[in-house]
C-alpha cells in the first residue's frame, strides 16, 4: 500500500510536468495541425533562461519569495516571447504551404535552438536550489517531498488560469473558434494570425513554468533535456487526444502514473517502452485518443 501511495505521488508530480508541456503541443496542434517539434526546445531554453534570471536577480544567492516569483514569471515571459518569435519568423511564412513543410521547419527550428544553446551556454550547467526542499515522512516507506507539493500546486493554479482564459475570455473564444475552423473564424472577422501568436505564447509560457519546476527538481540542466521530456509530453498529448486541452492533462497524468508504477513495481529499465506501448494500445483502440473527437472524413 505504501509503495502504491508513494508511486501515486511520484506519478502525479511527473504527470503534472508532462501536462504543462503537453498543453503547448495540443494547443498549437489545435490551431495549426502542426506537431511543433520546437516546443521541447522552448522548454529547454526556459530552463536556461531561469538559470540566468536567477543569477541576475540575485535569487541564486538569496532565494526569497519575491525573487523566486520573479524568476518564474520572467521564465514564462521569456518562453512566451520565444514561442511567438518562432511562430512569426519560421511558421507564419509557411502558413499556405503543406503540413510536411511546416513539420520539417519545426524540426529545423528545434535543431537550431538546441545547437545554438549548446554553443552559447555549454553542455551542462548546475541549477541552484531556489525552492525549499524538505521531506515529510508520512509513514514508513512513504514520503512527501516539498517539491511534489509545489509542482502540483503551481500546475493546478496554472490549469485554473488556463481554463479561465480559454473558456471565459474573448481571446479564448477566438482560440476555440480558430481551432474549430480557421477559415470560418477568419470570415467572422477573427484576427487569425494574432490568435495563433497568442496560442504560441500561452503554450510556451506553460512550458516555461514546467522548465523551472523541472530544473529546480533536477538541480542540473543541459541542452538535451528537452528532447526526451518533449517526446513524452507529445505522446501524452496524443494519448489524451491531440487538440483537446483536458485530453492533454488526462494523457499526461496517465503517462506519469504508468511510468512510475512500472518503475516501482516492475523494472525501471523498461519504463520508456511502457510509455510507447501505452501509446500504441490506446491509439489502436481509440484512434483519436482518449478525449479526442472522432472526425469523420468527407469525400
Amino acid at each position: 500500500m505504501t509503495v502504491f501511495l508513494q508511486q501515486l505521488i511520484n506519478g502525479l508530480s511527473l504527470g503534472a510536468i508532462y501536462a504543462l508541456i503537453a498543453l503547448g503541443y495540443t494547443m498549437v496542434y489545435g490551431t495549426l495541425q502542426l506537431i511543433n517539434f520546437a516546443h521541447s526546445e522552448v522548454f529547454m531554453m526556459g530552463a536556461f533562461a531561469a538559470l540566468y534570471l536567477a543569477r541576475w536577480s540575485g535569487a541564486e544567492a538569496n532565494p526569497t519569495l519575491v525573487s523566486v516569483t520573479f524568476v518564474i514569471v520572467g521564465t514564462m515571459a521569456f518562453c512566451a516571447a520565444l514561442g511567438m518569435t518562432i511562430e512569426r519568423l519560421a511558421y507564419r511564412p509557411l502558413r499556405k504551404s503543406g503540413r510536411l513543410n511546416l513539420l520539417i521547419t519545426a524540426i529545423g527550428v528545434s535543431m537550431l535552438l538546441k545547437n545554438g544553446t549548446l554553443i552559447a551556454a555549454g553542455p551542462l550547467a548546475s541549477f541552484p536550489s531556489l525552492l525549499p526542499e524538505t521531506q515529510w515522512q508520512l509513514a514508513p516507506g512513504l514520503s512527501l517531498r516539498s517539491m511534489d507539493v509545489i509542482t502540483l500546486s503551481v500546475t493546478l493554479v496554472l490549469m485554473v488560469v488556463l481554463h479561465h482564459i480559454v473558456e471565459r475570455t474573448q481571446m479564448g473564444r477566438a482560440m476555440r473558434a480558430v481551432s474549430h475552423s480557421r477559415d470560418a473564424a477568419a470570415l467572422m472577422g477573427i484576427p487569425v494570425d494574432r490568435v495563433i501568436a497568442f496560442t504560441f505564447a500561452l503554450g510556451s509560457s506553460l512550458a516555461g513554468a514546467a522548465a523551472f519546476l523541472r530544473a529546480v527538481d533536477m538541480h542540473k540542466i543541459d541542452p538535451e533535456m528537452g528532447t526526451n521530456m518533449g517526446l513524452k509530453a507529445f505522446v501524452a498529448a496524443v494519448v489524451g487526444g491531440i487538440g483537446s486541452i483536458p485530453g492533454a492533462v488526462v494523457g499526461a497524468i496517465l503517462l506519469g502514473l504508468s511510468e512510475t508504477f512500472v518503475s516501482g513495481y516492475l523494472t525501471s529499465t523498461y519504463r520508456d517502452a511502457i510509455a510507447f506501448c501505452l501509446l500504441i494500445v490506446i491509439l489502436l483502440v481509440r484512434p483519436s485518443g482518449i478525449l479526442g473527437k472522432h472526425a469523420p472524413e468527407k469525400v
Binding site: I35, N101, L103, I104, I107, A273
Partner: protein
C-alpha cells in the same frame, strides 16, 4: 522497366571504381561516400512510403536497427557470411514491417507518425535491455565488410527495384492511395494492403541499410537508430521532394556530406545545417525537385534552352 543490362553495367562500374580507384583515394572521402550510400538505401525506402504512398512514418530508423542487429547477431553468433547477414537483416526488417504495418496503417496522418515513432522507441529500449546483444554498450567486434563497392551495388539494385515498382501498376496504386485514399478504396482497391506493401518494401531496404551499417565500422549501438535518425531520414525525403525518387537521393547525399564539408567550422555546423533546412523550406517549399525526377528536370531545362535559342 529499366533493363538488367543497365544494372549489370552500373554495378560493373562501381566495382571497377572499388578495385582500381578506392585503394588510392583518401580513406576519409571513401568513408563519406559509403555513408552516403547507406543513407541512400534507407531514404529510397522511405521515399516510397512517404513520397509515393503518402504514409508518414517516423520510425524508419527502427527498421534499420532491426536489420543491423539481425545481421550483426547472425554474423557474431552463427558466423554466417556478412552478405547473408545483410540479406537476412532486410528480411527481418520486412517481417517486422508487416507486424507493425498491419495494425498501425489503419491510422492516418499524424497518428501513424506517432505510432511509428513509438515503435522506434520500443525497438531501441528492447535492444538496450538485451544484454546478449551488448545492450546499451553496443554490439562490437563485428567484421568490417561494408565498402564502397558493396554499398553502391545495393544502392543500384535498390534504386532500380523501387523505380520499377513505382512505374508498375502497383506504383500507380501507391500514388492513388497518397492522392485520395477514399476514392482509391471506392475503386475496389485494397488500400490497407497497398499501404502495408509499400511499408514492407521500405522496411526491407532500411534493413539492408542497417545491415551495411553493422559491418561498416564493425560495431553498432542502439543510440545510432534513435528517433532523431528517423527524423533525419524524413527531412531528406521532404527536402528532396515528395513524389520524387531522385530528389530525395540528391538531398540525402548533400545532407550526409554537408556536416563533413562544414567540419572546419565544427561547432557552428549544426546551426548552419538547421538554418539551411528552415531557409530551404521557406524559399522552396516543394523540395528540391518537387514531384519530378532529375531526368524530367534536365529534359525541361534542355527544351527551354533550345526554345530560347530558336526564338
Amino acid at each position: 522497366m529499366l533493363g538488367w543490362a543497365a544494372m549489370v553495367l552500373s554495378i560493373g562500374i562501381v566495382w571497377v571504381i572499388q578495385v582500381f580507384a578506392v585503394p588510392w583515394m583518401d580513406p576519409y572521402l571513401t568513408d563519406i561516400l559509403t555513408r552516403v550510400g547507406m543513407n541512400l538505401l534507407a531514404v529510397m525506402g522511405l521515399a516510397l512510403v512517404l513520397g509515393f504512398t503518402g504514409q508518414f512514418s517516423l520510425g524508419h530508423a527502427g527498421f534499420m536497427a532491426v536489420g543491423a542487429y539481425t545481421a550483426g547477431a547472425l554474423v557474431y553468433f552463427e558466423h554466417v557470411h556478412p552478405l547473408v547477414g545483410i540479406l537476412a537483416g532486410g528480411l527481418a526488417a520486412s517481417l517486422v514491417g508487416v507486424a507493425v504495418g498491419l495494425p498501425s496503417l489503419r491510422l492516418t496522418g499524424d497518428y501513424l507518425a506517432v505510432v511509428t515513432l513509438g515503435f522506434n522507441g520500443i525497438i531501441i529500449v528492447l535492444i538496450q535491455n538485451a544484454d546478449w546483444l551488448g545492450g546499451a554498450k553496443g554490439l562490437i567486434g563485428l567484421p568490417t565488410f561494408t565498402n564502397f563497392g558493396w554499398t553502391f551495388s545495393f544502392v543500384i539494385v535498390g534504386a532500380l527495384a523501387i523505380r520499377n515498382v513505382i512505374a508498375s501498376a502497383q506504383g500507380r496504386v501507391f500514388e492513388a492511395v497518397r492522392d485520395n485514399e477514399i476514392a482509391t478504396r471506392s475503386l475496389g482497391i485494397d488500400t490497407t494492403r497497398a499501404k502495408v506493401t509499400a511499408f514492407v518494401f521500405g522496411a526491407f531496404w532500411a534493413g539492408i541499410a542497417g545491415g551495411l551499417v553493422a559491418f561498416h565500422r564493425g560495431s553498432i549501438f542502439p543510440t545510432q537508430f534513435q528517433y532523431d535518425r528517423s527524423i533525419e531520414l524524413v527531412t531528406m525525403v521532404v527536402l528532396g521532394g515528395t513524389g520524387s525518387l531522385s530528389g530525395p537521393l540528391i538531398a540525402s547525399s548533400v545532407l550526409t556530406a554537408l556536416p563533413e564539408i562544414l567540419r572546419p567550422i565544427a561547432q557552428y555546423r549544426m546551426v548552419i545545417y538547421a538554418l539551411l533546412l528552415i531557409g530551404m523550406m521557406i524559399l522552396r517549399p516543394t523540395g528540391l525537385l518537387g514531384a519530378r525526377e532529375l531526368t524530367e528536370v534536365v529534359a525541361a531545362a534542355v527544351k527551354r534552352r533550345r526554345a530560347a535559342r530558336a526564338g
